[in-house]
């Protein structure tokens, strides 16, 4: 009985392998490798990236682009350097992709960059903000969102000028991106005349933020609290700051400032504690451009949910590859060269034009949103 079951499983595995082999043997297919966290604390990135990718591939493969169809294979890069490196090697050895998209977390992206560059395969990133990804970067790595310096300088300047903030407490996870983002904010804010009264870093294993909130409450008058962390810890921090009576949601005066790390729907999970939270979002679902309206409509139809910026970023990454193919790219090297020449790509998150270090220089992807008492967004129109 067991042996028969085993034979059936082996037969199915054989069919699956044969099927995969047949598919990969098709000449006119652009093979995309997806390196995303599917496990661990950043796994929500991977789940949402996959949704955006699925929708984009479904739309593109209806007709194809210049005779090419698009296929993807994922590996779990776990938002962490070691598993990400191993996943990148597996992907390159076994799938031999023409282009790779991912990772989300800066530490993981920095780890896979040299591996992917050595294989001369372009890597498109939409989630990692560390400056080191494009400065100095390498010729094969492209980033379609503003880096930590572009974001950090902007948010610190807006906090000082628009919110009249003069004191700040920095809360950041102790990763490349967390430390880097906090550093840029501090440098810009202090140059403008502001004062950072405390810098509190924490690991991803911290669950209870009551002690940190207590420390912030005891730090004196604080105008803004820039916070750099993933969604799960972000929720706990916001709630703890509210319980400690520090932020507006808890009756205090401080305003929490957030980045694109938090997905759409964060406020609904955080509840009243999120009131007054000001954060950057890189996808505005109320954008009136036709392509955004179609994306929102099609996403809702497919997944019965509103798209997040993570969904939108993943969707744009695939569209950017398709755009390169439309402009004549057909393999890894030509995709790299065509991507580097991108000047006016329009995606659902905004525009893309790469500079010499392959960093997108367009800032129309940054939108500031303030959380209203009913937890909806108030677009601040600062950019």
């Amino acid at each position: 009985m067991y042996r028969r079951g085993l034979l059936a499983v082996l037969a199915l595995a054989g069919i699956a392998t044969f099927g995969a082999g047949t598919a990969s043997a098709q000449d006119k297919t652009i093979k995309i490798g997806g390196l995303f966290p599917m496990s661990g604390p950043g796994a929500y990135f991977g789940a949402q990236d996959k949704q955006g990718i699925e929708l984009a591939l479904e739309e593109l493969n209806k007709t194809g682009v210049n005779g090419y169809k698009f296929a993807i294979q994922y590996e779990d890069s776990a938002c962490s350097p070691l598993p990400a490196s191993q996943a990148a090697k597996r992907l390159l050895d076994q799938y031999k992709p023409d282009v790779i998209i991912g990772e989300e977390c800066s530490d993981a992206t920095l780890a896979i960059m040299p591996i992917v560059a050595e294989a001369k395969v372009p890597l498109i990133n939409a989630g990692s903000s560390s400056i080191r990804i494009t400065d100095p970067g390498n010729p094969y790595t492209f980033r379609i969102m503003p880096n930590e310096v572009m974001q950090g300088v902007d948010i610190a300047t807006q906090a000082y000028n628009k919110l009249n903030a003069r004191t700040a407490v920095l809360l950041n996870e102790t990763t490349n991106a967390g430390i880097g983002n906090a550093k840029v904010f501090k440098e810009t804010f202090e140059k403008l005349g502001g004062k950072v009264v405390a810098e509190i870093g924490f690991g991803r294993d911290v669950n209870d933020f009551t002690a940190i909130a207590t420390r912030v409450a005891g730090a004196g008058k604080v105008d803004v609290i820039p916070t750099y962390t993933l969604e799960g810890q972000g929720l706990k921090i916001t709630q703890a700051l509210s319980q400690a009576g520090v932020v507006k949601g808890g009756g205090g005066g401080a305003i929490q400032l957030g980045t694109i790390w938090l997905p759409f729907g964060f406020e609904q999970k955080a509840g009243k504690a999120a009131e007054g939270y000001v954060r950057i979002v890189q996808f505005d679902p109320t954008d009136q451009r036709d392509m955004v309206k179609n994306f929102v409509k099609n996403f809702k139809a497919k997944f019965n949910a509103d798209p997040t910026h993570i969904n939108a970023h993943a969707y744009d990454q695939i569209l950017l590859i398709a755009d390169a193919v439309k402009r004549g790219a057909k393999d890894a090297q030509s995709i790299r060269d065509t991507l580097a020449a991108t000047k006016d790509f329009k995606g659902v998150t905004g525009s893309v034009e790469f500079d010499k270090s392959n960093q997108n220089i367009k800032m129309d992807t940054i939108h500031y949103m303030e959380t209203k008492p009913d937890l909806s967004w108030n677009a601040l129109k600062w950019n």
Binding site: A43, N207, A244
Partner: protein, 294 residues
């Protein structure tokens, strides 16, 4: 101001420590009786948290009842896993096999929960987290009072069970000498099963208590389990009183390190304490002979 902050951080530390104690008690119980480390304990905690979450959100139950539900779910799962995995392996005569099996159970549970519940963090809110009391410049939530009350009641009940009931005495007998206890008419297999069920029930309940604090994902329990292991070692392998003391101590180290140093140093301080204990007082905070620990 300074005195207020010290008092506030002491409260924070005791609340957090109480949660750690709840997680560590199950580990200590299994170690005390079976001299075995259960690597799947974290996943029982996670499952307890999800059981409580779905009891509230799908069945419309209230939070306090969900704690009992998580306890029962933990107990049933512990019983089932012991029956189907641990007991058959133990009967093969090797102590190593059930230990390795706990790693397998852990991986299996994590991936099953990832498949069922998805990777996106759940927001586990209780009405008690929103109720904030502010007294003399300090704050605490109704949730923190529940944590302390439930932890204290659990510790008292466990203590009474161990000291005053026949089953508790039988458990201690098995912990002292499994073979001799068997010769005295005690069924060691039954008591090992009881230990695993009790430990799993405690883990499930700890999950429900931790859920409003944890970032609730299928990997939630793993973020506290390393500290729970450290607490078991600092407290004295398998020593219940030592575990309680060590849990509270670790909670206090965490809150005061955050206040006066940096949260990034918490693990350094906790594990430095662990190493010091191993070097200078390997029997733990409360020294007893191991066989009398449970």
């Amino acid at each position: 101001m300074t005195a207020t902050i010290v008092a506030q951080q002491a409260i924070n530390g005791i609340v957090l420590g109480s949660l750690y104690v709840l997680v560590a008690l199950g580990l200590t119980l299994i170690y005390g009786v079976l001299v075995q480390i259960n690597f799947a304990h974290a996943d029982f905690v996670t499952l307890g948290a999800f059981a409580a979450y779905f009891f509230i959100h799908l069945l419309g139950g209230n939070y306090l009842t969900s704690i009992a539900v998580a306890l029962v779910v933990g107990a049933i799962l512990g019983w089932a896993i012991n029956l189907t995995i641990f007991a058959p392996l133990r009967h093969k005569g090797s102590e190593l096999l059930p230990l390795i099996a706990t790693i397998g159970v852990s991986t299996m549970m994590q991936n099953a929960m990832l498949a069922w519940f998805g990777p996106i963090p759940y927001a586990f809110e209780t009405p008690y987290s929103q109720q904030v009391f502010r007294v003399a410049g300090m704050f605490f939530t109704a949730q923190s009072l529940i944590i302390i009350a439930v932890s204290a009641a659990t510790i008292a009940l466990l203590y009474a069970f161990m000291k005053f009931t026949f089953l508790g005495k039988a458990l201690r007998a098995v912990a002292q000498d499994r073979e001799t206890a068997g010769l005295m008419g005690i069924n060691p297999s039954y008591l090992i099963m009881l230990t695993i069920v009790l430990s799993s029930a405690l883990a499930g309940m700890a999950g429900a208590m931790l859920a409003p604090v944890l970032v609730l994902t299928p990997f939630a329990g793993t973020t506290v389990i390393v500290k729970a292991f450290a607490i078991v070692i600092i407290g004295g392998f398998g020593n219940v009183e030592g575990t309680i003391l060590a849990g509270l101590l670790v909670g206090l180290i965490e809150s005061f390190t955050t206040q006066y140093f940096d949260p990034g140093l918490i693990d350094i301080f906790v594990f430095a304490l662990l190493l010091l204990m191993l070097a200078f007082r390997p029997t733990g905070l409360i020294s007893e002979r191991r066989e009398e620990n449970v």
